[in-house]
Amino acid sequence: MLTAFTRAFRTPDLRKKLLFTLGIIALFRLGSVLPTPGVHTENIALCLKDAQAGSSSNIYGMVQLFSGGALLKLSVFALGIMPYITASIILQLLVVVIPRLEALKKEGQAGQSKITQYTRYLTVGLAILQSTAFIALARSGQLFPGCQQDVLLDKDNVFSIVTMVLTMTAGTAVVMWLGEIITDRGVGNGMSILIFTQVIAVFPAELLRIAQTKGYFVFAVVMAVGIAMIALVVMVEQAQRRIPVQYAKRMVGRRMYGGTSTYIPLKVNQAGIIPVIFASSLLYLPQLVTTLFSNTQEEPNAIVQWINQNLVTGDTPVYMATFFLLIVFFTYFYVSITFNPVEVADNMKKYGGFIPGIRPGRPTAEYLSYVLSRLTAPGSLYLGLISMVPIVALALVGASQNFPFGGTSILIMVGVGLDTVKQIESQLQQRNYEGFLK
């Protein structure tokens, strides 16, 4: 990986792309720490310290993870890339539901760019909504429930509030643009790179905190385990079963090399990171429920008490088991949605492809789903175990939700990292040739 980067830096146009991407990342980070006008920065810092010291995990865990800490700082890029991602997902779903959008999509590039344009408008709309919501929270002091400090300088000045909303909305539009130009003129997928940036942005501070509060021995152990886990994740992410496929449309001529390059790659972790995100989002629900009930002064009933004891904090066996089982379930669910053996078999049949020795159509679909189910079992266990790491770590060393080598963080880190390096390598390969008769 390092050699790929050093070689990339020696290739002029790739170097330009890499530097461009790094420049955009720097800009992005700058906007993430730059406070929005009208924010009381000292008070925010105080409240943040309180929130981190307190053991209770905050409701915005996932959002906070994706915003790299920018959200609670109420910075210019507080909303980060999330509105854009949400908007893309909504538009993708709408395309299926609304015939007019479906028709547009089929018109190819021109229609697609119109849909992209709608996505951008929707992003801005979502950004207005979300920034208004967050500033309303900040104004009423609910952003940091335990903190008594005022986080806004002048919370009753309408002009100041409107300025803040506008600034955050504009910031979101800029983030969207940054993501797009990385995809366009830099390396890798812009959205992924920006999420990657935010995920690793909290690492230094978190590691430092562990070193300061737990001593250097624990720090060294955490580092060693973390690196071992990254290695493991890299290995499993690359693991795949290759099912050979042949196309029978052409006459079999003389071949210089064996025809082993046509195959269906089935990954051990076919589902990626989505099951973990689904499972953790679902486990926030009990927390939300109890928060609602705890507001009333009455004695909580038995169910709420049980939830409070077992499902709110991550260190109970019930929570761990539920989390694990949910991940396994969602892995199967997600794989069954994204990889439809019948559809794949149909497509192969349509284009004249077949698995040697197996008839096209239903036999092929059956074979594929057989192999797939064999692969998904270890894949789901792997995802579940990796995701348990931060929870176990939480219990063992008292790390916070932002624990750097958490399952989600590592999966995102490795996923985006691998994709980007692969892209750089493929661009490098296109430029470097060596051989006979130089």
Binding site: L93, P99, A110, Y247, M256, G353
Partner: protein, 736 residues
């Protein structure tokens, strides 16, 4: 653009204009410029004043040499081309003259110009028509066609300006890449490309790479297969996809075939391939639509031009399968030797420009793929042609009846009619229907392209009915006969919308040229391929709406752009590899690299050969050996990558990007290729007998290039991950 127009207007209107100068002085004026420019070590970028003055001179030259005095807008077009743009000039505005002046302008600046057009007919017509103008300006001109001999080609390429069709020039470039003797090379270094009908050449033709194939052995399609698949029933034994690009057997079909042949098909790839090919020929290729049979041979029809593509054949045994279907003797099968995309061909030229009647619609593609800007030139006289709204029908039969009615009615006034049909079969059916009504019409299609010029010349006469495929849709200039103006000019009727609105506009553009009167209308039915192939899921029955027709056309255009983009994305790397191989090949061909490498790797054998045959012969044979294996291995490399390409979309299922995966495979294969050339060359040189006359490779048979073909697959038929999820959810919701 407006300022340029004003600028040279000033020149033309200034007192003492060269209008009165005798012919020779025009030439002298242009010569003087040439002399002045030749004195400079490096050519300066021409100033606008120089260009305008050149236009003034050229206008005079055209007036005197051709009797055509270019309008201001034609010279605006020339200026746009001289500054490296694609000029969009309305149909009938005299692009040929504009282009010729621009070509002469480049030639006088010391550049060699290739005027690239869509077909041989236009290339030859324009070159011969414009020759007096070029002569007057002191520029030499030549043309090449399908039938030109190598000597004629070399002579044509040596001229300042060479006219040729994109495929002819492309094939010359490809053939030159395989020469084993420097003296055989015909195409000079590329300098300026001026592309006529730019959207057709640069966009429509660009979907299909030009491929040079060498004949290997007679095709071996089994006639029994053709007989077998003829018994199969569509929908029961086999199915085709919406756009009729693919066909596959159903499980019933598999059973039937397996019983008939007594094999397990999916354990016998070779038999399966034969069945698939026979089925493809049977189900997807239609006589008189996709090909015609002439002189006992199968000829392909180019779908965007409606002409016979003489040098085109289907790949990988499909040609033989079609021949078996038509019960013709099998011709030789081809093996791909080399290929080049239109992009690869055009971007070789450091300077490029073009002209067409319909460029704005493909402006984005021209920018994306060729780095060309479109300059829209206003028409000289406003177009007065009356374009009627489409006439829409539910059934093709109703449409055909109404079409004949319309022709009968318009013909009764004596107005000339041009009917554009989508394929050969339809043009013949229509001609039969018309003769049933007692009307005589002239048919122009791929079968009688020899009479093209005379048919077009008569198409504008009073009472003429011309039925033509797309052949007449582009570049042809139909002049109106006497008194036709009063009847409303030429009436253009399209028997169906094309897959691109540009093709429709080109057909319409046959009428209403230069402010002439004229009219056009299109007849569309819900059973047209455009509707059934592209919007089958949105249209079920009833008269299709105008909006739906437009939408179908946009879908088709989107699909085609995507194919174009994919062709380019997948061949870009391949062309870069080819450039490197060619660079090495050039060094082997022109130098002594091969011999030196042999001397180093096999010193004993080298000494032996030098002793036996002399040093020159040794070098010559080393060169022959390396060139042979280099070309051989490149051809195998292409075949291998074509195979990889076919299944690469499956990689998306492992969440990998197909294009990156393809590059990875291509790069590893390329490294093996280089090693393979080396080891094979050494092996041959070690054993091959070398005499003073050199080396005899004939027995191994270097194949002569003869054929062209194309092959395309879709990149990701599954859609992105999110599309798949959304699609699944939607189908669940709808089912309930």
């Amino acid at each position: 653009m407006a300022s340029i127009k004003q600028l040279f207007r000033r020149f033309l209107e200034r007192p003492g204009s060269i209008d009165l100068a005798p012919h020779e002085r025009v030439v002298a004026a242009s010569r003087a410029h040439e002399e002045r420019l030749k004195d400079l070590a490096e050519l300066p970028a021409p100033s606008m004043d120089d260009l305008a003055e050149f236009c003034a001179i050229a206008r005079e030259a055209a007036d005197r040499a051709l009797g055509l005095r270019p309008y201001d807008v034609q010279l605006v077009g020339t200026l746009a081309m001289l500054s490296g743009n694609v000029a969009e000039m309305a149909t009938g505005e005299g692009k040929t003259l504009s282009g010729a002046i621009a070509a002469a302008g480049y030639a006088l600046r010391g550049r060699r110009v290739h005027v690239i057009s869509v077909n041989d007919y236009l290339a030859r017509r324009d070159a011969e028509w414009m020759e007096p103008l070029y002569t007057a300006l002191g520029v030499s001109v030549g043309w090449i066609g399908q039938t030109s001999t190598p000597e004629e080609r070399r002579a044509a390429y040596e001229r300042d300006v060479t006219y040729g069709s994109v495929s002819e020039i492309g094939f010359d470039v490809l053939r030159d890449r395989l020469r084993t003797d420097v003296a055989d090379i015909v195409v000079p270094e590329p300098e300026v490309a001026l592309v006529d009908e730019a959207d057709s050449v640069l966009v429509d033709e660009a979907r299909v790479p030009l491929v040079l194939a060498g004949a290997t052995d007679p095709g071996d399609a089994v006639p029994e297969m053709a007989a077998l698949v003829r018994q199969l029933v569509q929908g029961y034994h086999y199915e085709t996809d919406d756009q009729r690009r693919n066909v596959h057997l159903t499980s019933k079909g598999i059973d039937t075939v397996e019983r008939a042949l007594d094999v397990e098909l999916y354990d016998e790839p070779a038999t399966l391939a034969e069945v698939s090919l026979a089925l493809h020929a049977h189900a997807l290729l239609t006589k008189d639509v996709d090909y015609i049979v002439r002189d006992g041979k199968v000829h392909l029809i180019n779908p965007s031009r409606g002409r016979v593509a003489l040098l085109q054949r289907w790949p990988d045994g499909l040609q033989a399968a079609v021949e078996a279907k038509e019960a013709l003797p099998a011709s030789e099968t081809g093996e791909i030797l080399d290929s080049i995309t239109v992009q690869g061909l055009i971007t070789r030229y450091p300077e490029r420009c073009g002209m067409t009647g319909t460029a704005v619609a493909v402006g984005d593609e021209l920018r994306e793929f060729y780095d060309l800007q479109v300059a829209a030139v206003p028409p000289n006289r406003p177009i007065v042609r009356q374009d009627a709204p489409d006439r829409l029908f539910e059934f093709a039969m109703d449409r055909d009846l109404a079409l004949v009615e319309e022709i009968v009615e318009a013909h009764s006034t004596g107005r000339p009619i041009l009917v554009g049909t989508l394929d050969v079969a339809e043009s013949e059916r229509l001609a039969m229907n018309l003769s049933g009504r007692g009307l005589e019409c002239v048919v122009l299609n791929a079968k009688n392209d020899a009479e093209e010029a005379s048919i077009i010349a008569a198409a504008g006469e009073r009472g003429a009915i011309t039925v033509s495929t797309q052949m007449a849709g582009r570049g042809t200039d139909i002049r109106l006969g006497d008194g036709v103006d009063d009847l409303g000019g030429l009436y253009v009727i399209g028997s169906g919308r094309h897959t691109s609105s540009r093709l429709d506009d080109q057909l319409r553009g046959r009428a209403g040229r230069q402010g002439d009167p004229g009219g056009s209308v299109f007849f569309v039915s819900g059973e047209d391929d455009l509707i059934t192939h592209y919007v089958s899921d949105e249209y079920t029955s009833g008269v299709p709406s105008q909006r739906l027709v437009g939408h179908a056309q946009r879908v088709a255009e989107g699909v085609n752009t995507q194919i174009h983009r994919n062709t380019w994305r997948y061949t870009r790397l391949l062309e870069r590899q080819r450039d490197q191989v060619l660079e090495r090949r050039g060094r082997v061909l022109r130098g002594r690299t091969a011999g030196d490498a042999m001397a180093e790797a096999l010193p004993e054998r080298w000494a032996e050969v030098v002793e036996a045959a002399g040093e020159d012969a040794a070098h010559a044979s080393a060169r022959q050996v390396v060139l042979f294996h280099l070309d051989r291995c490149w051809s195998e490399h292409l075949a291998h990558l074509a195979e990889v390409r076919e299944g690469i979309h499956l990689r998306v299922l492992g969440r990998a990007s197909p294009i990156d995966e393809f590059h990875k495979e291509a790069v590893t294969a390329y490294q093996r290729l280089l090693a393979e050339i080396e080891s094979r060359s050494l092996a041959t040189f070690e054993t091959a007998p070398v005499t003073a006359d050199g080396l005899d490779l004939e027995e191994e048979g270097l194949k002569r290039p003869t054929a062209t073909w194309t092959y395309l697959v879709q990149d990701n038929p599954f859609g992105s991950e999110w599309e798949r999820i959304a699609g699944r959810l939607a189908s669940k919701i709808r089912r309930r």
